[in-house]
């Protein structure tokens, strides 16, 4: 060899703390030099063979193909289709075995902490069930049976003038088709023909509010058994504007005391009458999925604006006068103005949400509305109910590759028309058989056509290589600074505890790298009595010291791994090395991982100082306050390039930054951002000085380690021809126009896209969006998760405003503002946010409002828009005039980009509750726990009273503020201290006391915590606490030193609008 061997040594790892000395001695001693370069096996072929483990275990039979996944429950069926267990998922399931439960949204028993869209148990708004006060689970039976016939009639009668029932020939032809299906029981045809004429031509629209949908274009023919199933008053005319289903996963009692109950939503009842059950069994879903061809003048759009709910969204609100606009419950997404049969099938808004639920027909109209058009996605969210389809052919459009979905139209039994590109496709033979009902000739009742969210088991065409094994590599900073913080102890312990819970199978591989100014590898070769450390000190040109045994099978080498994790925290306690070679360590990690792909978790505690990717401190503390010249852009492209390399090899890097000083997260964050990882930031982490952070790290790390994970994923978002996506937000790399490369996908990541209307959507009543996420599960199966959303198209500006989703708009604007602050300046971004409000409200004023009234008018759908934008301006990412540290600001920006909308909204606009008088009234019941539901208060000091205690939930942090004259009982029975004065200064835990108050409060706080993937620290603060300023910072509606109060902000907007 011409090149001298690099300075690389290997040393035996000490088995215990007492052996540390020996390790140090071992490091100093000259040991085995490791050959570098083209050593045999050192250079893994980077081709398609991802390591020895990858070739094995191809899923063979259905049993192997469908192991029970994390939170998904499904059972294999003979046909390979897994009928979903009836219950909570918000789309009607087609469970053949249990007809009585199938439409019962409220009847779900599955309460899992991250899927909060279980059936709403709201029954209040349904007049027929008004007297009921029990749990909706029990009340589903015969009661709702009463109204349908009446409704049916009223609908038919009210529309009779314009369109006589049964007069629609195309409708009838469809019906003939379904009648001709072979296996109809003799008794059913009449019963389904009757609704066919009655409801098919005149849909029973929410006629409670006196509106009818004129018959026509867009109706799905009503189903057999339909009348009893279709009494879902999806859009009742409630006085309250919050239009959507309650998000709460529980049954609320009817005696619930809040005025702002969201309307009952899709509370469809099961066919209760015994006579109906037979037919319901045969026709499990109420709707026949046949799009009607447009019937001349009968356009859906004509009927749409008339729906009461949308009008409610348009009701002008004078923001200067109406002070109490904040709903007292969590604000729900608006329901798209679609026919109920379609809406019932639509994708859950928590997974897929659009800023405008009424899509403007042209770009000109969109421009006029001055609102951003975009989607917010949470595609890999943990779901308790997910239908999984295993079939050899996945039916997709032949030209645009759209997956078949509930919103396609079947022209006849053999052909379907794509709803994205309008190509007519053939229905494959296999698709004719419906495994759920076991009936041939019902392609429109296949689960693919009944569920907007579905998962396919992908056949081998969807694999470029055999599915990779789960590979986890941990990279620890062990410099002096890192050891000082004591994080290694916590991390190793948490990892040790959760080693068995890491998602994976027998192929799971794991490896460790530590680094200071050198890089240490750990050989975990089978047969070694203890792990062997290999030190590479050549950080300029990093190489892997040995080809194998650095990433080892978790199950086969568990003892060695546990041994390493136990000794690791003690090994470096004497280290005096202060340098940090993060860049080279990442390069080494990348080289180690590139043959297989997988996840790298990096723990870093300081600014990387040596080797490639070394950074310099750019923060100038004096300039924190000014919005100018702060360094939001990365200072080097090293991390970005490395991230793209990682992305190309299906490696994702998650960064845990635990640092007291400035660490240039703007540069470091790129490594995660473009490799689809996530960033965690623990400011000033210290095991002694900052114990709350330790708990936070522990809890979040546990979630991180055990949550579901998808490997080598790609996501594609398709939309109807005419719409196009022009900007993507989130952590990924956009590989080609609409293909997002996601080396890892995790259930806690959200994405956003901005769209434009390229060609006008003339003649379209609806548009659809489909996201398809192709990933390898931790069990080594290739799966495709598909979400489809359907939204109506509108032609008038007022309709666009009526369907505006203020939370989604705020979320998208926040994403855009982050981009703007990075590409331009922070003050530019702030101006853009304010202008977004001004422009949209003035457009509304000039184009929609017919009567010019004094004051600041906003459509009811946007009434919270100024408040949310003000909240964004006061959020850490965009605020000025505070001493927010640069890293903290950038971390918040990362969160804006990567958090799903729910959490983003909570971080932007915290919820404030009064908790000293919690009662069980209106409480939720989950697993025998009673969780009180206090109303949400406005974020203003005027809502605080000295004799109360208030909980502010700001997403990643919670404050419990105790008023000076707070009731003695609360202080003693919840906080466990005798009086106000003796509340400790830095109290962060609620003691678990035996009192009812304590149980209630703790139940409420832990319920809030359980709903999110991160762990909010609870700070209990008094009047003189140092954290009081943080608490007051979150009082969005109040004036702070540098920011306007809500009222001042409104006045400012009014001034600009009236200009």
């Amino acid at each position: 060899h011409p090149t001298p061997p690099p300075p690389c040594r290997s040393a035996a790892l000490p088995g215990s703390a007492t052996c540390t000395q020996r390790a140090c001695a071992g490091r100093a001693a000259p040991v085995v030099p490791v050959r570098r370069g083209p050593a045999p096996g050192a250079a893994e072929p980077s081709g398609t063979e991802p390591g020895p483990g990858a070739a094995m275990a191809q899923p063979a039979g259905p049993a192997a193909a469908c192991p029970v996944q994390n939170q998904m429950m499904h059972s294999s069926d003979a046909q390979g289709y897994n009928p979903a267990v009836p219950g909570s998922y918000s789309h009607p399931k087609v469970p053949p075995h249990q007809p009585s439960g199938q439409y019962n949204y409220s009847g779900s028993q599955n309460v899992s902490q991250f899927n909060s869209y279980q059936g709403p148990g709201q029954t209040l708004n349904r007049p027929p069930v008004a007297p009921l006060s029990g749990s909706p689970v029990q009340q589903t039976g015969p009661v709702p049976q009463v109204p349908p016939p009446a409704l049916q009639n009223s609908a038919a009668i009210s529309s009779a003038g314009s369109f006589p029932p049964g007069a629609g020939p195309p409708m009838l032809s469809n019906w003939q088709y379904s009648q001709s299906a072979v296996s109809h029981p003799a008794g059913t045809p009449p019963s389904h023909l009757a609704p066919g004429t009655g409801t098919g031509s005149a849909q029973p629209s929410p006629s409670l509010s006196g509106n009818t949908n004129p018959p026509g274009s867009y109706q799905y023919a009503a189903s057999p058994g339909g009348p009893s199933l279709h009494n879902s008053f999806m859009k009742p005319a409630t006085p309250h504007p919050s239009p959507a289903p309650p998000n709460l996963k529980m049954n609320r009692n009817v005696g619930y005391s809040y005025p702002a109950l969201p309307p009952g939503y899709q509370n469809t009842s099961p066919p209760g009458a015994p006579g109906m059950q037979a037919s319901a069994l045969q026709y499990p879903d109420g709707s026949k999925h046949f799009h009607q061809p447009p019937l001349g003048t009968n356009h859906l759009t004509a009927s749409m604006g008339s729906l009461s709910l949308q009008q409610e969204g348009l009701r002008p609100v004078n923001l200067l006068q109406e002070r109490n606009i904040l709903p007292t419950t969590i604000l729900q997404a608006p329901v798209p103005n679609l026919h109920e049969d379609i809406q019932k099938l639509n994708c859950n808004p928590e997974l897929f949400r659009c800023t405008l639920t009424n899509i403007p027909q042209t770009q000109a109209l969109l421009n006029k509305a001055k609102l951003p058009l975009g989607l917010l996605l949470h595609p890999f969210k943990d779901l308790s109910q997910l239908p999984v389809v295993t079939s050899s052919t996945i039916v997709r459009c032949r030209s645009c590759r759209t997956y078949i979905n509930p919103f396609v139209s079947f022209l006849d039994q053999r052909r379907w028309k794509c709803n994205l590109c309008y190509r007519v496709n053939d229905v494959p033979e296999e698709f004719m058989y419906n495994p759920v009902t076991r009936v041939y000739g019902e392609p429109h009742k296949r689960p693919e056509v009944q569920n907007a969210t579905i998962e396919f088991m992908a056949p081998s065409e969807y694999m470029l290589r055999p599915p990779q094994p789960p590979v986890y590599l941990f990279v620890f900073d062990v410099s002096h600074n890192a050891i000082e913080t004591g994080y290694l102890n916590t991390v190793c312990k948490t990892l040790l505890d959760n080693l068995d819970l890491l998602p994976g199978n027998t192929r799971t591989k794991i490896g460790f790298i530590t680094f200071d100014s050198t890089i240490h590898f750990y050989s975990l070769q089978e047969g070694l009595s203890q792990p062997q450390m290999l030190i590479v000190s050549d950080i300029e040109d990093v190489f892997i010291p040995m080809p194998e045994n650095l990433l080892v099978n978790l199950n086969e080498n568990k003892e060695l791994i546990q041994d390493l994790l136990r000794t690791l925290p003690q090994m470096f306690t004497k280290s005096l090395e202060t340098q940090s070679a993060l860049g080279p360590a990442l390069q080494a990690a990348f080289k180690l991982m590139s043959p297989t792909g997988g996840r790298i978790s990096v723990f870093q505690t300081q600014l990387p100082s040596v080797g490639m990717g070394a950074l310099k401190s750019r923060e100038e503390p004096n300039q924190r306050a000014t919005a100018k010249d702060i360094h939001l852009t990365p200072s080097t492209d090293f991390y970005k390039k490395l991230a793209l390399d990682c992305s190309g090899q299906q490696v994702a890097v998650d960064l845990f930054l635990l640092s007291g000083q400035y660490s240039d997260l703007a540069s470091l964050g790129c490594i995660s951002r473009y490799s689809a990882g996530s960033v965690y930031y623990y400011q000033s982490y210290h095991h002694k000085h900052n114990p709350v952070q330790v708990e936070k790290l522990q809890k979040e790390l546990k979630r991180y380690l055990t949550r579901k994970i998808g490997f080598e994923a790609v996501m594609r978002i398709r939309c109807t021809k005419g719409l196009s996506i022009h900007t993507f937000h989130g952590n990924f790399f956009v590989r080609s126009t609409d293909l997002l490369s996601l080396p890892n996908v995790n259930p806690d990541a959200g994405y956003a896209v901005q769209m434009s209307v390229e060609e006008s959507l003339t003649d379209m009543q609806v548009v659809s969006f489909q996201s398809a996420l192709l990933y390898t599960s931790s069990k080594g199966e290739r799966r495709i998760r598909v979400h489809t959303m359907c939204l109506p198209v509108v032609t008038t500006l007022s309709d666009v405003y009526a369907g505006a989703d203020v939370q989604a708009i705020t979320g998208l604007l926040a994403n855009m503002a982050v981009d703007r602050s990075v590409s331009a300046t922070l003050s530019d971004a702030r101006d853009a946010l304010v202008n977004a409000v001004i422009d949209s409200l003035s457009a509304y004023r000039s184009s929609v409002l017919s009567i010019q009234q004094p004051g600041l008018m906003a459509p009811s759908s946007l009434r919270l828009f100024p408040l949310y934008v003000l909240a964004l301006l006061k959020q850490k990412a965009f605020q000025t005039g505070t001493n927010a540290r640069l890293d903290e600001r950038i971390f918040t920006m990362c969160q804006v980009k990567n958090q799903p909308l729910v959490y983003l909204m909570l971080m932007t606009h915290p919820s404030l509750y009064r908790v000293d008088n919690l009662t069980d009234e209106g409480a939720l019941n989950i697993n025998d726990r009673t969780i009180p539901q206090p109303p949400i208060l406005q974020l203003s000091v005027e809502k605080l009273s000295r004799d109360g205690a208030y909980l502010m939930d700001a997403g990643s942090v919670m404050f419990l503020w105790i008023g000076k004259n707070c009731g003695q009982s609360f202080i003693s029975q919840v906080l466990g201290v005798p009086n106000y004065g003796s509340i400790p200064q830095n109290m962060t835990h609620l003691p678990e006391l035996e009192t009812a108050e304590s149980i209630r409060t703790i139940a409420f706080v832990s319920w809030l915590r359980e709903q999110r993937p991160f762990f909010p620290i609870l700070y209990i603060i008094k009047d003189d606490s140092p954290l009081k300023s943080s608490f007051l910072q979150n009082m969005i509606e109040d004036r702070t030193e540098s920011a306007l109060s809500y009222y001042e902000f409104l006045l400012h907007i009014q001034q600009q609008v009236n200009k």
């Binding site: 080097t636 022009h726 993507f728 126009t737 981009d819």
Partner: protein
């Protein structure tokens, strides 16, 4: 002398035309998903500096040879090229950044820019050709 200047300009202009066509082809390949953003951008970034230099040379040459009109015609585009090259943010991987090229219509604006340059260079090409043929000491 004059003819030498224009012969050189003509050759340079040809090269720039080819470069503009190459840019357009590569960008439209990206648009049609034939290549991925990473390889597209690394291909294009390689040619950004040659383009800047190539155009700057012609511009300077025109200044030296005192062809004021042609110099002024070239100046804005040459300045834009240099400006664009200098203003690349520190974290980006060049004028064409694979992580951003699909965002905010960047692909379209790059395409538009390449088209405009192509048109401009074609115009210049014929102008140089005309000047060359009308040179008193023409080689012809």
């Amino acid at each position: 002398m004059e003819s030498v200047v224009f012969i050189f300009s003509l050759i340079d202009c040809c090269a720039l035309i080819f470069l503009a066509v190459y840019f357009i082809i590569t960008l439209s390949d990206l648009e049609c998903d034939y290549i991925n953003a990473r390889s597209c951008c690394s291909k294009l970034n390689k040619w950004v500096i040659p383009e800047v230099i190539g155009h700057a040379v012609v511009t300077v040459l025109m200044l030296i040879s005192l062809h004021w009109f042609i110099f002024l015609l070239n100046l804005p585009i040459a300045t834009w090229n240099i400006y664009r090259f200098i203003m690349v943010p520190s974290g980006n991987m060049g004028v064409f950044d694979p992580t951003e090229i699909h965002n905010r219509g960047q692909l379209k604006s790059h395409m538009k820019e390449a088209m405009i340059k192509l048109g401009f260079h074609l115009l210049c090409f014929f102008m140089y050709l005309y000047r060359l043929s009308s040179c008193p000491s023409s080689l012809v």
